[in-house]
Each structure stands twice: as structure tokens, then as C-alpha cells.
């Protein structure tokens, strides 16, 4: 294979990994604190739409990202309110959020941005070529000729690792995810930790959505997330709830997605629908193989009413 083919494959693998990684990091924050967010798919969809809407009405991609982060941050807090304060079942709320996300983005996508060929196109997030680094053969161009969100996602991985393992707040997040009661008896404000993690998760969902709509297609299309929210959830599990592992898993799944696109363009005589299945199949196999061996935070999806509230 020529260098060109390999470089273009790597570049597209990374481009497709970025939304997964951003969404997965959002899930990771929630998951380490013990909140199971299967509604990520819906959150990312809302983020993707708000990004384009923001970019269209405010006139710049940056404003679009900012708008999306605000919107999905609010969605994250709403999710938090439902599962934390009212104690609703996290699986039910997550499922509802997915359905809600699909419905509301379809409605507002059509009414605000039009549909089909007439759908609004906006200026996407431009690529930013980093001098010197991008000249490294093979990986240089793939890694360092991407848009700002991609670079942000690279930096978020060590940042998340630092927060989780080197700060007091990160220790509290991990502790709450394992045993909220124990954390509470030590004076950790469990609900506050959960709300902050939901907020972070929501905001990252917005960025993830923008990396799809503004970073890759420059427009919004219905159900454009296409299961990536769920794949991100798998990436967290596959990555054993660590930032680095999550990144590895995101790259694997993103790479599979890119490979599937390559296969289609090679003109192999297999119906393209089967090609489309490849990343999802890989996700299933990876999960079936690994999830038994990794340990999720012990208090995942457990409702908890804080001691102080019980008294009041």
C-alpha cells in the first residue's frame, strides 16, 4: 500500500475517533461517579444540532460549539436532576433521553435548518496544521493536521487522568462511584459530585456532537450520530474505565469505522450494508470478550439519598 493510502486512512480513523473519544470521556466522568448514562446518543445528537444552529445564527463555528456546550450542559443537568434528585431509574431516563434527542433534533433540524438538499450548510471548524509535528512521516499528517476539537480531545485524555488520580476532587469522584454511603460519612457531598459530573458529561456530549456536525459534515442530518453514543459507552467499558484505555478503545472503534468506509470505496462486491455493520460488530465482540473481565465502579446506577437529606 502506498504511503498516501495509509496516511489518508490514519487521518480518517482519527477524525472518526474524535467524536467517540469526546463522548466517551463525557461518559467516563459520569461513570466513574457511578452514573450510568446510556442517553449519550441523544445528548450527542442534541449537541450536533445545536452546534449547527449556533453556527448558523451566530455566524461562526466557534459560537456554534459554545452554544452546543451550553445546551447539552443543560441537558446533562436535566438528566442529573431526574436521576439524582428524583432518583428515577437511570436506564429508563437514558432511554427516554435517546428517544427525546432523536425526536427533538428531527423537528428542530427540519424547521430551523431545512431538509434534504436544501439543508443549511455552515462553515465548519477549520483544520489547523501544526508545523514541524505534522511533518513526521505517516502519523504526523494524520495526527497534526486536524481541527481544534481533535487537539482538544488529545489534551483531555491526560487532563482527565490527572483529575481522576492526582486531585482530591478526582478521588471523591472515584469514591462516590464505588460507595456513596461511605463517601457521605466522610463528608463528601455526593449529590454535588454527581451534578458536576453530569454537567461535564453533558458539555462533552455537546463538543462531541459538534465534532461530527461542524467538524466532519458541516451540516446537520437526521440521526447523524448513528449509534456512536452507544459505541462511546462501549469504549469506556472496553477501556476499563480509565482515560487512556478509553482513548485506545475509541481509536479502535474509530479505526474500524474508517476501515468500513475504505472497504466501500474499494468496490468489493459485498452489499455496503454489511460493511456498515463492521464497527458495531466489533463493538459487540469486544464487549462480549472483555466486559466480564473488567470491573465497573461498584455503585453504578445506584440511587442514593444523602444522609443530610434523610434527616431533613
Amino acid at each position: 500500500m502506498s504511503e498516501e493510502v495509509i496516511v489518508s486512512y490514519l487521518a480518517s480513523a482519527i477524525r472518526l475517533s474524535v467524536p467517540l473519544l469526546l463522548a466517551a470521556l463525557g461518559i467516563l466522568f459520569m461513570s466513574r461517579s457511578g452514573i450510568l448514562n446510556i442517553g449519550m446518543e441523544g445528548m450527542v445528537l442534541i449537541g450536533a444540532l445545536s452546534g449547527v444552529v449556533g453556527a448558523y445564527y451566530f455566524g461562526s463555528a466557534a459560537a456554534g460549539v459554545g452554544f452546543a456546550v451550553v445546551v447539552t450542559g443543560l441537558v446533562g443537568l436535566l438528566f442529573g436532576f431526574l436521576v439524582i434528585t428524583t432518583g428515577a431509574d437511570q436506564v429508563v431516563i437514558g432511554t427516554a433521553l435517546n428517544l427525546f434527542g432523536l425526536g427533538i433534533t428531527t423537528v428542530f433540524g427540519r424547521s430551523l435548518l431545512g431538509m434534504g438538499q436544501e439543508a443549511v450548510r455552515v462553515n465548519g471548524i477549520p483544520s489547523l496544521r501544526i508545523p514541524l509535528l505534522s511533518d513526521i512521516p505517516y502519523v504526523g499528517e494524520a495526527l497534526f493536521d486536524q481541527n481544534v476539537l481533535a487537539y482538544a480531545s488529545y489534551l483531555l485524555v491526560p487532563a482527565a487522568a490527572f483529575v481522576f488520580y492526582k486531585t482530591n476532587w478526582g478521588l471523591r469522584v472515584r469514591a462516590v462511584g464505588e460507595n456513596p454511603l461511605a463517601a457521605d460519612t466522610l463528608g463528601v457531598r455526593v449529590h454535588r459530585i454527581w451534578y458536576i459530573c453530569c454537567l461535564i458529561g453533558g458539555m462533552l456530549a455537546g463538543v462531541a456532537g459538534c465534532s461530527l456536525s461542524l467538524g466532519i459534515l458541516n451540516q446537520f442530518t437526521e440521526n447523524m450520530v448513528a449509534g456512536r453514543g452507544f459505541i462511546a459507552l462501549s469504549a469506556v467499558i472496553f477501556g476499563k474505565w480509565t482515560p487512556l484505555g478509553t482513548m485506545g478503545a475509541s481509536l479502535l472503534f474509530g479505526g474500524a469505522d474508517a476501515l468500513q468506509l475504505r472497504f466501500q470505496s474499494f468496490g468489493i462486491k459485498i452489499p455496503y450494508q454489511f460493511m456498515l455493520m463492521f464497527p458495531y460488530l466489533l463493538t459487540m465482540v469486544a464487549l462480549a470478550w472483555f466486559s466480564g473481565k473488567s470491573k465497573q465502579p461498584a455503585a453504578t446506577a445506584a440511587a442514593y439519598k444523602s444522609l443530610a437529606d434523610r434527616n431533613g
Binding site: 482530591n168 478526582g170 464505588e178 463517601a183 460519612t185 463528608g187 465502579p297 444522609l307 443530610a308
Partner: protein
């Protein structure tokens, strides 16, 4: 001596139930004060109010002469009151240092300084002789060590007043000795300790004074000089308590259950190694040992809940192939599981449904797959009466019953089968003196009628009181079987800690 903590007219209600009824109590600075009472006497409620987990409805708490009111454990902790819960409040996936530091700010810095924390914890650990390695992961520690981590947690937060809730319930005899050594060091350094327990011997050994609670009321506070265990038991239960007595002698020579060379493993790790024993008709074989040494696995293999790797299990001389719970039940094996809530009962379902849960397929209760509710009710009423199960009716969810009564439901269900063998795993775990006495009585009755019982318990007293022969399980091995006459506490205690004597025992 000056009281460090005083309670005046403290009342706590849950709905219409009065858990603590006008309690008055004064704890002296630097003493080890025992709090004694049966389950449901209100010990935990009282301690939860002192440690900020609950707020009192009436009355006041004076700490160091000042009235205090704690809205949360954090407030109690910063006042200097720490609590070591019976079920540890530890996070197994984290290290000792992380568990200790959780919720604190080191020098107001947002960063977690692992090395500095470790050094501070080591210093504290040395000062009080706690012997805990701060770098270790909590899940790798023994139960005794985990308890010491809990003590360090309170000390690290500057606790002057430490409450220990049933601290010896989970420990081996030698770990109990270590704990008492630590408690004496704490006392020497001026800490005040409340020691909750229902083990009278231990209270006599370590405590200065004792307060007895019964049904939410305070019965009295006494100095431990000149008070006998029998006095304490009477105060606690409200009547004289007779210890169960096993009548020696009349055991037949016929083998009922014979196990030879039993091996089992859990994901490749051996959990049972070459276990052999026999139980004769009407005999009780007690298996002592510290929790987690294969007791659970042994009982599960015997009842067919877990597959064995090798070995022969014979019942009345017939070797059992591929045993499964249902076939074991049909063959007359009853099973009292360790955890009533998780395995023994369906808590949401009614008492009557739980009672017939092993017999519902019999013609007596169902025809063509349809259960006769009338017969179920008749049977349940009969059992409720015969076992004196306290419930407001047969249709009440079993989860609403007290622990002792739940155990009676299990006992009734299993004995209803007229079993040949009972595998009883911790049959009185977490039960108070009165309820435990009843369970023991029924088990002894069953054995007198010829039923063979495998009694697995971590309570040495229980094993020694009931068994005809006693074996010790240590790391999946049966270390020796001895007759009750030749069994003494020290010897069993050593075996429980894995110290093998040179002499070998006959099996």
C-alpha cells in the same frame, strides 16, 4: 471523672415506632463503655444520633459540656466523634491512604499528595500500634486490617470519642486480641470508646462500664466489677437464658452423608482442597473457621449450587452424580443459606409463598400448574403457629419481618421437608440471643429425630455448643476433625489461624 458526653431524655421515633425512649446516659472521659442489647434494642439508633447519621426527635446531647446537634457525619467528625461501622465504610477499589484522605483537604490544596498522606498515616499507625500499610489496596487486606483502617480514618480526623459498632463480629479470636490491644492503647492515650456488642465475655474483658438497652429503653448502667454474664444476659433479654445443650451419646453408626476427596475451584483458583468427612445419622458436624475460608463454597457444592472438580458425595451409601439443587432437595437435603436476604427468601413475596417455595410443585399445593391458595394458606398458618413466627398475617411480605422471624420462616420451610440432611450455613448470623436460642433448639430437635446436620458457623461458641464433632476449615482445607470431648478453644483457635499441630487427627 468528668463526663465527656451526656445524653438527656433522648427520643427517636420512626413513624409510630419508638426506637429510643427517653435515654439518659453519661460517658466518662477515657473509659471504654460497653453498649449491650439485642437486635432492635436501639443501640444502632442511639449511636447513629451521636455520629450525625440521624437527628434526635427530643432531648439533648452534651459533648464536653456543651449542647450539640449534628446534622451530618461531617459535623460530628469535626467535633471529634468518629464511628467505626459494623459494615465497613471503606472503598475496596482504593488504597488505604485514599480511603483515609477521602473528603479531606490536605493543606487546602486541590491536589492529592499520595506520599505525604502515606507518611502521615504511617506515623499515626505506629503511634497506636495499628500496623497498617497505607499503600495497600483495601480489597487486599484482611477483615481485621480493614477494621484498623476504619480506626485510622477516625483518628486522622482528630477523633477523641470513637464508637465501634459490633467490632468483633467479623474477627477471628486472634484478631480480637489484636483489636483489644489497640483499644487499650487508645484508652491510654486518652481516647474515649463506646464498644457495642452482644458478646458478654468480650465486654467483661475490655470494658470499664456497661449500659444495657432493651426495646428502646435504657435498663441500666453498671460498673463491670461484680456483675456476672448471667446478670447481663438477663438484663438484655428480660428473662433467664438457657444455653443450648447437646445431649451426647445416642448417635447411630450408619453413615448418612459421606464426602471423599472433594475439590472445587473458582475461576481456576482452588477454593476447596481434598475435603473428606462423614456425618452419621442424627449427628451434628460443626465446621468452624474464619469467614471466607471456603465455607460458602462447601455448602454450595453440597447443595448442588456449585460444581465440584473432583470428589465423591454419598448419601445413604449412594454416590450422587451431577447434583442440582432440585435433585438434592428431592433426596432430602435441606439448605439454610448464609444470607437470608439474598439467597434464603424472596423479600417482596409473602410469608406463605416463601414457606411453600420448595414444595409448591407437589400435588399437595398445586394441580396442573395451578396453586391452591387455600392449601397454601392452611399450611402457612400451621407453620406460623408451630414456629411462633411473629407476623400480622400469612400474606405479609416476608421482608417486613424482623431478622429472627425471617430465619424462622426459612427454618420452617426447610424442616417441613423432613430432611435427612441439613446444610446450615451461619444459621444464627446477626440474630440476638433469644432468637438464636430458638433456632438452636429446633436444630437439636431435628437431629434427635435422626436428621444429620452440617453446621457451618464462624461463631466458635455456636459450633462448640451444638456439635458432636468439630472440624476446622482453613483456606479450603479441612484441618482436622475432633470429638466434642477432645475439642478445646485454644486448639480450634489455632487451627482457625492455620497453625497445624503435629499430631494428625482421624477423619
Amino acid at each position: 471523672m468528668e463526663p465527656i458526653l451526656e445524653i438527656r431524655g433522648l427520643v427517636k421515633r420512626f413513624g409510630s415506632f419508638v426506637a429510643n425512649d427517653r435515654l439518659n446516659l453519661a460517658i466518662r472521659q477515657g473509659e471504654i463503655h460497653a453498649l449491650l442489647g439485642e437486635n432492635g434494642a436501639g443501640k444502632s439508633t442511639l449511636m447513629n444520633m451521636l455520629s450525625g447519621m440521624l437527628e434526635p426527635d427530643e432531648g439533648e446531647i452534651l459533648y464536653k459540656g456543651k449542647p450539640v446537634r449534628f446534622g451530618s457525619p461531617r459535623e460530628a467528625g469535626s467535633a471529634g466523634i468518629g464511628m467505626v461501622h459494623q459494615h465497613f465504610m471503606l472503598i475496596p477499589a482504593l488504597t488505604v491512604a485514599e480511603n483515609v484522605l477521602l473528603g479531606l483537604k490536605q493543606d487546602r490544596s486541590p491536589f492529592f499528595r499520595f506520599k505525604k498522606a502515606c507518611a502521615e498515616i504511617r506515623e499515626l499507625s505506629d503511634r497506636f500500634g495499628l500496623d497498617v500499610r497505607p499503600e495497600a489496596k483495601v480489597s487486599d487486606l484482611s477483615v481485621g486490617q480493614q477494621q484498623r483502617v476504619e480506626i485510622i480514618k477516625t483518628l486522622f480526623r482528630g477523633a477523641e470519642f470513637i464508637i465501634l459498632d459490633e467490632p468483633t463480629a467479623v474477627l477471628t479470636p486472634s484478631e480480637v486480641k489484636d483489636l483489644f490491644r489497640v483499644l487499650r492503647t487508645l484508652k491510654e492515650q486518652g481516647k474515649t470508646i463506646i464498644f457495642i456488642s452482644h458478646k458478654l465475655q468480650e465486654i467483661r474483658e475490655i470494658c470499664d462500664r456497661v449500659t444495657v438497652l432493651r426495646l428502646g429503653r435504657l435498663i441500666g448502667t453498671h460498673s463491670l466489677d461484680g456483675i456476672t454474664p448471667a446478670d447481663l444476659a438477663r438484663m438484655m433479654v428480660g428473662r433467664d437464658v438457657a444455653a443450648p445443650v447437646r445431649k451426647a451419646g445416642i448417635v447411630s453408626q450408619t453413615n448418612r452423608l459421606k464426602v471423599t476427596g472433594l475439590h472445587a475451584s473458582e475461576s481456576g483458583v482452588p477454593v476447596l482442597k481434598d475435603i473428606s468427612f462423614r456425618i452419621r445419622e442424627g449427628e451434628i458436624l460443626g465446621i468452624a473457621g474464619v469467614d471466607g475460608n471456603g465455607q460458602r463454597e462447601l455448602s454450595e457444592v453440597l447443595f448442588g449450587l456449585r460444581s465440584k472438580d473432583a470428589g465423591i458425595i454419598e448419601l445413604d451409601g449412594e454416590a450422587l452424580q451431577r447434583q442440582q439443587p432440585r435433585s438434592m432437595k428431592e433426596k432430602g437435603v435441606a439448605y439454610i443459606p448464609e444470607d437470608r436476604h439474598k439467597e434464603g427468601l424472596m423479600l417482596q413475596m409473602s410469608v406463605e409463598e416463601n414457606l411453600i417455595a420448595k414444595e409448591y410443585r407437589k400435588r399437595r399445593f398445586s394441580k396442573g400448574g395451578i396453586i391452591s391458595r387455600r392449601r397454601m394458606r392452611e399450611c402457612a398458618d400451621e407453620q406460623i403457629k408451630s414456629f411462633a413466627i411473629k407476623t400480622s398475617g400469612a400474606s405479609v411480605p416476608v421482608g417486613r419481618l424482623s431478622g429472627g422471624n425471617q430465619q424462622k420462616v426459612i427454618l420452617a420451610r426447610e424442616l417441613m421437608l423432613n430432611p435427612k440432611v441439613i446444610v446450615a450455613m451461619q444459621p444464627t448470623r446477626g440474630m440476638d440471643v433469644g432468637a438464636a436460642e430458638y433456632v438452636h433448639k429446633r436444630l437439636l430437635e431435628a437431629s434427635e429425630q435422626g436428621c444429620s446436620i452440617l453446621l457451618i458457623s464462624t461463631e466458635l461458641e455456636e459450633v462448640m455448643a451444638l456439635s458432636d464433632r468439630i472440624a476446622v476449615l482453613y483456606k479450603g482445607e479441612l484441618l482436622g476433625t475432633m470429638d466434642r470431648e477432645s475439642a478445646d478453644r485454644d486448639r480450634i483457635g489455632q487451627l482457625m489461624a492455620g497453625i497445624r499441630p503435629n499430631a494428625s487427627f482421624a477423619i
